[in-house]
């Protein structure tokens, strides 16, 4: 399922500068390079992922996001992207501020902890959800901040963040039909396009 990639593609202007925070194996940047001819850089700390980026010709910079992004100047990128990593940041709201300082626009994707299956897991099993998207036990998970679609909406209001676009992704029927009615309940992955 690369629905989030397709959505991101639509929001990126060709031939612009893109910074991908926590770029993993560089798959997103590679597809943006190939389809949109962007100048992309990814930040990553995992040695295996870094090597995959190098092997496929994606610019990758070894840098720990939790140690700050002060080396990047204000407005030095057209778009700053972070896919499925905000929940793993030590201080997500400050990372968001930094992203909006460095980029004219930002794109964020995150797993919605308000998704009904996740709620059901906690409700009925009484244990922290282990799902395909959040495939860790509570003690070894890198995901240290669980938040919902609704939480993120509130954060954007509180911090005066402008939501340019939002898209909800759900994999299965009937979630796919219901997500527009009750996004907080039926969205698995939320994708946001933001600016200041």
């Amino acid at each position: 399922m690369n629905q989030d990639f397709d959505i991101i593609h639509d929001w990126i202007t060709p031939s612009t500068r893109v910074l991908d925070l926590g770029c993993g194996d560089g798959a997103l940047l590679l597809s943006l390079q190939q389809k949109h001819n962007i100048l992309g850089y990814g930040l990553e700390v995992d040695p295996q992922a870094i090597n995959q980026c190098i092997a496929r010709g994606v610019n990758v910079i070894e840098q720990d996001l939790n140690k700050g992004l002060t080396n990047f100047a204000d407005g030095s990128f057209d778009t700053v992207v972070m896919t499925q990593a905000l929940q793993a940041m030590r201080l997500p709201h400050l990372v968001l501020d930094e992203m909006l300082r460095i980029g004219r626009e930002c794109i964020i994707t995150f797993p919605n902890f308000g998704y009904w299956r996740t709620r059901a897991y906690l409700n009925f099993r009484g244990r922290m959800p282990v799902t395909k998207q959040l495939a860790y036990q509570w003690y070894d998970t890198p995901n240290i901040h669980f938040f919902t679609y609704a939480d993120f909406e509130t954060l954007c209001v509180e911090r005066n963040i402008n939501i340019l676009h939002r898209q909800c992704i759900a994999e299965h029927f009937p979630d796919t039909k219901l997500k527009s009615l009750w996004p907080n309940l039926f969205t698995q992955t939320a994708v946001y396009h933001l600016s200041r």
Binding site: N51, A55, I61, F72
Partner: protein
């Protein structure tokens, strides 16, 4: 220094060649070398497009013997672990050129050569050099070999400075620059260590104002001391602790005796110093440490590294080692940040190592993997005509 595992492939027996470059080389200091000799080695085959050339740039004390073995010699070249068939700098794919640069002392024109104007040894009168002089001389060797564009220019430390200088001086003559454990300019602390080394050499009574060779002398003690200082700065505190700790080589600190005592580290450093002073020339050491001190990538670009790198056209791979305090990772970060601001393609890796600055010469899995992955992509792009690059 390198210990190769038995599975390693070696390029095997190699021989060096010498070329007399007849084209005048105008140096940055204004003086001209009408002709100069370069000693070099090549590994692998140049392809029909002449597009697979890789230039290796050596550092302060390096030479042209980067890989393989000389007949009858059991010690491989200084970068044998990384250069050879199937190795990160793969000689099955690339034509690798490694030279001894001018001003050094392994056969290329330098302080131990004859000054044609006087008929005497150059000695301390050899003109002062800048990294760009090495680049210009390397370009003449490139033309001699019939190569129009390097697939990559690679170097560690001072070698990385040459790779960066190549990207600014001849942007259309290289597709990739690999800059390892390097810096855009030395820090005051770095210059300080170099000056201590030079003072050690000049303080040796056998230095004779740099004209020791004419008097059949050599400032061996001064040069050994200079190298001992350098050597300490190339290692990390952690590694020295692990390798030597407080182990004694001679004597015993527990017994009440007046017998001599020697720590392992003392013996090791003295050995390294003496070995070096037997093989290196003191004037070359002074000359090349000054070259390091003078290097400042962006001096002529209004001291703006972003403006400097705006001239580059190649892609970059920048690497640093965590415990390197002589060319700290922060220096490589500065290179990387400037390259990103200038909109150049760059990847940066900070490799965990306890081996200090010397790490760039030593086996390290992650380093090998990164360099290998990067260059194998470069190799994949070689069959395209020059210019479309990878």
């Amino acid at each position: 220094m390198l210990s190769d595992s038995p599975t390693d492939q070696s390029i095997g027996i190699v021989t060096s060649q010498t070329v007399n470059i007849k084209q005048p080389l105008k140096l940055a200091c204004g003086l001209v070398l009408e002709t100069h000799n370069l000693v070099y080695e090549t590994y692998g085959e140049l392809n029909s497009l002449k597009s697979n050339g890789i230039l290796l740039c050596h550092a302060l004390s390096g030479d042209h013997h980067a890989a393989g073995f000389y007949a009858g010699d059991s010690k491989p070249g200084w970068w044998d672990h990384y250069v050879g068939p199937g190795k990160p700098i793969d000689t099955d794919k690339f034509f690798v050129v490694s030279l001894n640069n001018i001003g050094s002392c392994f056969g290329s024109t330098g302080p131990t050569s004859i000054n044609p104007d006087t008929g005497k040894l150059w000695g301390a009168d050899f003109p002062s050099l800048r990294a760009r002089d090495w680049v210009e001389s390397q370009k003449m060797l490139m033309e001699h070999l019939g190569i129009d564009c390097w697939a990559a220019v690679i170097g560690g430390s001072l070698g990385g400075m040459q790779a960066m200088r190549w990207s600014l001086e001849h942007p259309d003559k290289l597709l990739n620059a690999v800059v390892i454990a390097s810096s855009m300019k030395l820090t005051a602390q770095n210059i300080a260590f170099n000056e201590i080394a030079r003072r050690a050499i000049k303080s040796d009574p056998d230095f004779c104002d740099g004209h020791y060779l004419e008097q059949n002398k050599a400032p061996l003690r001064g040069l050994a001391l200079a190298r001992m200082i350098g050597h300490v700065t190339y290692l990390s505190d952690e590694l020295m602790g692990q390798k030597f700790g407080r182990q004694l080589r001679i004597g015993d600190l527990i017994d009440k005796s007046n017998d001599p005592i020697e720590f392992q580290i003392e013996s090791y450093l003295n050995y390294q110093g003496d070995k070096f002073s037997d093989s290196f020339d003191a004037n070359s050491y002074i000359l090349i440490t000054k070259m390091l001190d003078y290097f400042d990538l962006s001096r002529e670009y209004n001291n703006d590294p972003v403006a400097a790198f705006a001239h580059a056209q190649c892609d970059f791979l920048v690497m640093a080692f965590s415990s390197d305090w002589r060319f700290a990772p922060q220096r490589s970060r500065e290179i990387t940040d400037a390259l990103m601001s200038a909109g150049k393609s760059v990847s940066y890796i900070e490799i965990e190592s306890d081996k200090g600055h010397d790490a760039f010469l030593l086996p390290n899995d992650r380093y090998e993997q990164a360099l290998g992955s990067y260059l194998s992509r470069v190799a994949d792009g070689l069959n395209a005509p020059l210019g479309d690059g990878q």
